[in-house]
């Protein structure tokens, strides 16, 4: 299924509720649903803040596809944030707490920790940025 929402901070909640409802319907347990909610919120927040410059005239699209054993989530933004990062840094919480770096920059890292797959895909057709995540229903499944 597909969801199109105006790029406005707070609207990531709509995507989060949709993802939770779909995940519940296809049998994910409460812990995995909480993971999905957090990951999709972070991905949508980024698509809104960076990919759409938080301008609600822009829209982001979320595509949810339930397969037998996994849920695939694709978040598409208009690509106004330029090319997305090609790698994800582990946050250095000690440096943040010591005030060496400002607290933040943990969204993508959290997503990679919570999801089984996560990567940016640069669209070949237009300037849009796609972020694709996959989560398996059972953690220890053969992949």
């Amino acid at each position: 299924m597909e969801l199109k929402i105006p790029s406005e901070l707070g609207n990531e909640k709509i995507a989060r509720e949709v993802a939770a409802t779909v995940a519940k319907r296809v049998g994910f347990d409460a812990e995995r649903i909480a993971d999905i909610k957090m990951a999709i919120s972070e991905a949508c927040t980024n698509a809104i803040s960076y990919g759409s410059k938080a301008d609600s005239r822009n829209k982001i699209t979320v595509i949810l596809t339930a397969h037998d054993e996994k849920l695939e989530i694709v978040v598409i933004d208009p690509g106004l944030g330029g090319p997305p990062p090609s790698n994800v840094n582990n946050p250095d919480i000690e440096d943040m707490i010591d005030g060496i770096i400002p607290p933040g920059g943990m969204g993508l890292w959290l997503i990679t920790e919570l999801m089984d797959e996560a990567q940016f895909i640069q669209s070949e057709e237009d300037d849009s940025t796609e972020f694709r995540m996959v989560i398996y229903r059972n953690k220890n499944i053969e992949q």
Partner: protein, 116 residues
């Protein structure tokens, strides 16, 4: 459109205060949370209890706010206590490493008793 967070402070005694959070711990929560934290710090308390009972949504911006509070608390030599975070919150706190700087407690009473 507004994202609701309600923050309430509660002074237990000269050493301990509670910050009750109800709602989403996101960017929108920054001012209310840091405001509440400053207020109880001005009282001079040494133990700061965050009550997470009424929260189920935290995001990376919310975690960044808490990390900022840890920084301040260390400067002020305060002790931070996290009461009743959901199991999801606990997992995230552990993942990020926040649990090195703040104790997790299953109830407000447990948190308060631990600093008696």
């Amino acid at each position: 459109m507004s994202d609701e967070i309600q923050v309430e402070v509660q002074r237990l005694n000269s050493r301990t205060a509670v910050i009750n959070l109800a709602g989403d711990v996101t960017t929108f929560a920054e001012k209310p949370i840091t405001g509440a934290y400053k207020q109880i710090s001005d009282w001079g308390v040494k133990n700061v209890v965050f009550n997470f009972r009424e929260n189920d949504y935290i995001n990376s911006a919310g975690i960044a706010i808490l990390i900022g509070i840890v920084t301040e608390a260390r400067k002020r030599k305060q002790r931070l206590l996290m009461a009743m975070p959901s199991s999801h919150f606990q997992k995230i706190f552990r993942m990020v490493g926040l649990t090195q700087y703040a104790d997790i407690h299953n109830s407000i009473d447990e948190a308060i008793n631990s600093v008696k």
